[in-house]
Symmetry: C2
Subunit: 253 residues, 2 copies
DNA sequence: ACGCCCACTTGACCTAAGTCAAGTGCCCCG
DNA sequence: CGGGGCACTTGACTTAGGTCAAGTGGGCGT
């Protein structure tokens, strides 16, 4: 058993090679020999518990983090002190990409439930990338993907009504869980209504009312944090700009 | 006799080396020898005219583009066909970063006024970056910066009222113009009220009313597309969550 | 096991901003 | 140089969603 000098997680055989997330995460598409090199710079910590920070805003940027299990939220505090949630991160997703530019974290990252993460010291990662073109490419892709997602979020916030925002959010979770081998139709929300609202630019009461409405409409079953998607198709239709107005006779008003 | 003091297009020796934007653009921080190598892969086109496309959504991604003069908007068309503006790009700014991931453009880019751009074939850029660590780093930084800006936009859209959005927008333009050597206090908007509204998630009427209000308040002078910032300090205060109501003894004005 | 707290729900009301509808005048085109 | 369209302004009205307030009940700590 090789003793990793920095942080040793005693007995678990953690390695990118046999990590189930390898196909989603940084190693995606790398030759096995290159994965080994990547492997060599990854630090793994003991599991973090709800409320622990991966990093905090204003602190020096040293590493990217990849979620291995659990979930993490990123957020900033507005001038008035209240929290603006910027994103929720599931296994296989990278955090800290916005800090490369400034060398300082621009948001804080806090785990929402017991989670484990991999730490990727960025200087070493860059060094490695300059020797492994595939890794360089993969990093460019990951950064680009993040930009695309942010752009989608901008579009969602600037033109969609509350209903569509929540439906988008749920579908995004559904798809991401599915890609990770979990159920697309049933999952536990690790974040509060407040946090969902902040993320979607809505009041928590609005989020709550929408959950109720979706349930009444038979689209979801909602039990506290336990969500069951009953009608995926209809949920998708909510997003597709439900311009049913003139379509079907909606009945007498 | 063209009296354009800034740039005359036909006869300039166009080269990153003597481009006034070099310190903002990709070459930033590169050794002169490396700038030459970068130079070698840059394609420069004749000036584009208002309405011309740099690229269109769904088209194959081949190159990044850097604005040299003029301005460019990026946008997508919603399912209902109406335009969602994603950004406005000034000289020295890069476009197409979101397409690296998918190999396909996710938005369209159209010039708002007569503009010139540099085209950077991405494959060659990547190849170059793997030999020039500084360039690789610079690319990571640029992508990261974009992520940070998108994040700022998400925060703006999800929690700021209309007033703050427009003030943010104007201050962003002001700062960007200033860094490019133009006046921070006086500039011409190259985009319509409609486009500003789309970008900020507001109706064009709201944008118009806010311009009027800012003018009435003595913060701006607005003449059609000609904006003069009369009171930069107060414009900043609009953003700073103008909760002047109860705030600590700021003293009566 | 109990009770308290806090996340959530639900209702009533209010407001910021959207929509609809006229203007107004600049700018471009003939 | 004159007409027309289009970008913009302005006003009246509507509404989605925020705010405030009052429950309700699940889960956690003792």
């Amino acid at each position: 058993m090789t003793a990793t000098p920095v942080v040793s997680l005693s007995n678990i055989k953690v390695a990118c090679q046999n990590c189930s997330l390898a196909s989603l995460c940084l190693p995606m598409g790398l030759a096995p020999a290159d994965v080994d090199k990547l492997e060599a710079i990854v630090k793994r910590s003991r599991p973090l518990r709800r409320g622990d920070h991966l990093f905090e805003s204003e602190h020096k940027f040293r590493s990217l983090f990849a979620v291995k299990t659990g979930s993490v939220k990123t957020y900033t505090l507005g001038p008035d002190g209240n929290e603006q949630v910027l994103g929720f991160h599931l296994p296989g997703e990278l955090l800290g990409l916005d800090a490369i530019q400034s060398d300082v974290h621009r948001c804080s990252a806090r785990v929402l439930e017991t989670s484990s993460v991999c730490e990727l010291p960025f200087e070493r990662l860059e060094e490695l990338a300059s020797h492994i073109p595939t890794l360089q490419h993969q990093l460019f892709r990951l950064l680009s993907k993040e930009i695309g997602q942010d752009t989608d979020m901008v579009a969602l916030l600037s033109r969609s009504p509350a209903e569509e925002r929540l439906a988008s959010f749920l579908l995004s979770l559904s798809e991401r869980y599915q890609r990770r081998g979990f159920s697309a139709k049933e999952f536990i929300l690790s974040m509060s209504r407040q946090e969902i609202g902040s993320y979607l630019g809505l009041a928590l009461e609005t989020v709550s009312r929408l959950f109720t409405r979706f349930q009444e409409d038979g689209i979801l079953r909602v039990d506290r944090k336990h969500i069951t998607i009953l009608d995926l198709e209809r949920l998708r239709k909510v997003i597709a700009h439900q311009t049913n107005c003139d379509q079907q006779a909606q009945g007498p008003n």
